[in-house]
Amino acid sequence: MTETLLFTDIDEPGLSTLEVYERRGGYESLRKALAMTPEQVLGELQASAIRGRGGAGFAMGQKISFLPKGDMDKFLVCNADESEPGTFKDRELMQKSPHMLIEGMIIAAYAGGINRAYIYIRGEYELQAQRLEAALEEARAAGYVGEDILGSDHSLIMWVHRGAGAYICGEETALLDSLEGKRGNPRLKPPFPANQGLYQGPTLINNVETLSTVPAIIRLGGEEYAKLGVKGSTGTKLVSVSGHVTNPGNFEIELGMPSREIIYGLAGGPPEGREVKLWFPGGSSSPVLTANDLDLPYDFDTLAKAGSMLGSGAIIVVDDSTSVVDVALKTAKFYRHESCGKCTPCREGTNWTVKMLERIDSGEATPMDLDIMAAVQTNIIGHCLCVLGDAMAMPIGSMIAKFRGEFEAHIEAARERNDALVEAVA
């Protein structure tokens, strides 16, 4: 049985209220952290070796240590714009245990010497935003958020900020622009947000799940936490499994668990009589893996070595009843719609990829189009301000590479269908 840190009794009635959360030992980690120095808290986070749960997998402790020292306005932004297709773990956390996130943010702000924090939550999550607002109100009244928290000299202002529906705002610099009240266009990096982020001030940006884990790390101690999981991927991780599985949902696993056990053991696998054809291991932006990769341990480094990534921990399973062309088209259309239009390779590349896939579907394509399409993907990667274009190019490129035969057969079948139609008309 996996040890749970985030999901322990997540369905307990009233866990979203301060009363129940405190009864279950909530805000004890905050007290423990405030009794330590900020450097000691940072030391625990670094010892835990927790990697960001939002997608990039950057070490959280290191991120905090990049913030400049000294007396200045620093910001903490919680990235709750969970829009990666297939991902819905933060939704469950914020809805059912909002105080855990708030407590984690207060501790992280303490470690980084930060006095102002915002939770940028996607606009579609109305229920979750309401729960967070209510929890924040309770936390303010109880003195956990505000001036001189629990008698220490640490103060923190915190607000919930609702977005309005834009995938790009999950990209950290686009999120900052959006939070500043602009259109959500990504910024050139460097400077990185740790130096110049929100309002040009040093800014720490972390995912909901990462920040929600902080109280558990302080409670256990960094080294104890690091014993969970495997080397390079410590701790537990929430995975969202969806698509063609019989028991879709969020599961808390110890990193390093075999992927097969997640997909078949926890999520029930595809419906009877069908087999896994391909799966996205970390949201729709991750290069696809096939049934041959099901025995890979689910952790950051193994998946990277296999040519994909753990990403946001969203496993989308596609079984053999679905054509890979349909999956590619759906994926490409999403990125075309969500491209902000700032960088040409992404704006044009996503559009032309959709057009080429539609040609494949309508029987106007030749096998050479596959090479052109693959070339478009490689010309997007690394040529834009942010990775939205790459996030389409990587899965589409991997689908062409791994399922080329099926693409070619689809092209041929569609052409024959067209020829038959022409003959019928003649």
Binding site: E124, A164, A314, I316
Partner: protein
């Protein structure tokens, strides 16, 4: 002030008369910040906008929450609403329109008052979301009561295929349930109460000790 779509000025051949929301009207002077003294702003809206502005070091940061508030009040981001918000925030209306047009949930054109966003992204479409959207479209596509849209991933792939109806998530929805769902929304009720996200339990077997 709710705006009737038929009142949007149009030429005889059907296209919209160029107006406040066009990309550029070179015959006009650049928009100025509306004068608060001559722009009537409802008291509650003004208080709400001012409250949002106090939350940030830069007042422009309040743009999205303010546009949400305008939309909640007027049904969509109306020219009058934008003008009022701009007057209180001391921004040009153009600034707020530029922000509003970027985001999928803010509307600068009249929309129906019931939002029905059907997720048609990968996980949902693997479970029949395209057919579900078609069914919604068939039953409510031309009903001015509904703001029916196919949305990108709403973050509820565990209840696929699903829809966000007036902000609350419900799913999975079967195709033959669509007329009942719409009828419930018309009556102002919660559709399929037992399948609302707020009542959904975590499926992780280790979550409950």
């Amino acid at each position: 002030v709710s705006v009737d779509p038929s009142q949007v000025p149009r030429f005889g051949h059907g296209s919209r008369v160029p107006g406040w929301d066009d990309a550029a009207d070179l015959t006009k002077d650049p928009a100025e910040i509306p004068d608060l003294a001559t722009t009537p702003v409802p008291e509650e809206l003004r208080a709400e906008i001012e409250d949002y502005m106090t939350r940030y070091p830069d007042r422009r940061s309040a743009a999205i929450p303010v546009l949400h508030a305008v939309q909640a009040r007027y049904g969509w981001c109306t020219p009058e609403g934008i003008e009022q918000a701009a007057a209180v925030m001391r921004l040009t209306p153009g600034y707020l329109v530029a922000v509003a047009t970027f985001y999928d949930m803010l509307f600068t054109h009249p929309v129906g008052r019931n939002d029905v966003y059907v997720c048609t992204n990968i996980s949902c479409s693997l479970n029949g979301a395209d057919e579900l959207f078609a069914a919604f479209h068939e039953h409510a596509g031309d009903d001015p009561e509904f703001n029916l849209r196919a949305f990108e991933c709403l973050g509820a792939c565990d209840m696929a295929p699903m829809a966000s109806i007036n902000g609350s998530y419900v799913g999975p929805i079967a195709i033959d349930e669509v007329p009942d769902v719409l009828e419930a929304v018309r009556r102002g009720e919660e559709p399929l109460p037992e399948r609302q996200l707020s009542r959904r339990r975590c499926v992780d077997p280790n979550a409950t000790t």
